[in-house]
């Protein structure tokens, strides 16, 4: 039974915990919420898919960054993760999937083939998916190491936080 030391000074946390408030911009706060809960759609075609699998599993987990939920429905996803080579036969499929996604959405092009066609410069391969859909983050590498994919996700999270947020409940006077 010892003496209970009285709390002499209030620390910052204790001051705010008793009904305090945080001051920030609405844009920033909504971005904070959006960047840590991303549902992604992995559009996997080729070899980079192996490195995506490595990045998703226990060694280099990307679930700890909030990107863990994999959905296979474009209507319910925020991030289109294009992994692998896109050929001209596959291009309409990619465009259909992208058109089905709802705003706000983002696209990451993973691997050299998705960024610019890679080592394949011939009759069958699209030279970069930005000829079909707009891209936010480009990941170079053939295949990129899992750490590169994680770095790209962090850059995307920075972008999401800082961009002008899309607030659908604004009433727009036409």
């Amino acid at each position: 039974m010892g003496k209970i030391r009285p709390i002499k000074k209030y620390s910052y946390y204790q001051k705010t915990a008793h009904g305090g408030f945080i001051a920030t911009k609405l844009n920033y706060a909504i971005g904070w919420g959006r960047k840590f809960s991303i549902f992604h759609y992995p559009f996997i075609t080729a070899c980079c898919g192996m490195e995506y699998m490595s990045a998703a599993c226990a060694h280099w987990d990307f679930d700890r960054f909030g990107v863990g939920m994999t959905t296979f429905s474009p209507r319910q996803s925020d991030l289109l993760f294009v992994v692998g080579t896109i050929t001209h036969k596959e291009a309409p499929v990619l465009k259909t999937v992208y058109d089905q996604m709802v705003e706000p959405n983002w696209v990451i092009a993973c691997g050299a083939c998705a960024v610019s066609g890679g080592i394949y410069d011939n009759y069958a391969v699209v030279q970069g998916i930005d000829r079909i859909i707009p891209v936010d983050v480009y990941i170079p590498g053939c295949p990129p190491r899992p750490e590169t994919i994680l770095n790209a996700l962090l850059k995307l999270q920075d972008k999401i936080q800082k961009q002008k947020q899309d607030l659908r409940w604004k009433i727009i006077k036409e």
């Binding site: 080729a46 599993c57 060694h59 692998g84 080579t85 050929t87 036969k89 499929v93 080592i119």
Partner: protein, 440 residues
Amino acid sequence: MTHRIQKEAKKESLLINMGPSHPAMHGTIRIMLELDGEKVRNAELEVGYLHRGFEKTCENKTYFSLLPYTDRLNYVSPLINNVGYVMTIEKLMDIKVPDRAQYIRVIMSELSRISDHLTALAAMTMECGAFTVFLYYIKAREEIWNVIEKTTGARMTTSYIRIGGVRTDLHPDFKTDVKKAMKVTREVLKDVKGLLDKNKIWIDRTRDVAVVSPEMAVNYGFTGPCLRASGVKYDVRKAHPYLVYDQMDFIVPLGEKGDNYDRYMVRMKEMEQSLRIVEQCIEKMKESPPEVKGEIEPAEAIKMSRTKKPDQKIKLSPNLKGSEKDKYPGILTDSEGVKVPPKEDTYTNMEGLIKHFKFFMKGHGIRPPKGEVYFSVEGGSGELGYYIVSDGTDRPYRLHLRGPCFHIVSALEEMIKGHYIADVIPTFGSTNMIGGELDR
């Protein structure tokens, strides 16, 4: 445009499309099904969504610069594709490979084969719902890729096997690293055996589904684990031995019925046999020559070589470690004109510079004699064969790949007829379709 299945379908059945972008982890393929309730009445496959023009690209590249394209064919076991291509050229030009390089090639092939089976089974079981097996197998695969990365420099697409041998010698701690990777793989295999082998749910889902009789398998041109699961004993490593496989002691596991469960069991047993082969190779391989420390810096050696040839050993930069001149007799052949000369020679004397220049110059370099050749190795899914027609110049006239998955997937339409729609996924997973090999 109407597909064949739309023309043949009855009016009351339901047509379902498992489109090119789908949750199965294998690759882009389109499966169209005609359903009667839940039973599959008819099926049609559409392939070609990953056709990257490999064969046409190879006609425009020299024999040496098309090596990275071969890595990306069967991208789960990349070193085996490299070995197949390089051995075809060696058969055409009659090149002898030193012993140590042959053992290194066998070790790398078997590690790739283990990684192929791990990925195939991980994807197959995850799609059936056993998510833990996927995580365990990818953990074992990371250890193996770690070992490959320390020697070759890259985890997946390595371009390590060169014409006449390999690029660099094994790294100094190879034995301890490989033993650790094998220990982790054995533990993981034991765990998954306990999880799945006698599991009632797994047996109910995979036993007696998509049975392939031996006659049907041979008629369709099956090779590899899918053929051995039907009971036919054919393994390229035993039938036409190449490298040092005739000195290795391993058995070829066979299945009984040819259903999905047998294809799973054959792959599990083959992984144990591959581990045995790697152990035997490490014991039989001779020690590499001891490392001699370099004495003079490269810049100093180049300056000295203007007047006389430097006698002392030259220090090379760290990313050329393993390919020093005194390691060359163990890892590369003696034939001239097919290998990159050692850097010590290139920068300090005239002959080395000329050889280096001629190797890479357009129109010179590796020029096999006129003719054609076919050679095959045992890939992860079966007999991987290369057919090369050469017209005497430095580019191949025609290069054709016999991809094993092509023949196995062409049988998929018949394999899933009459089964339920939920059986399509494990069947498709057990064929181990790899998009890069199917569509080239």
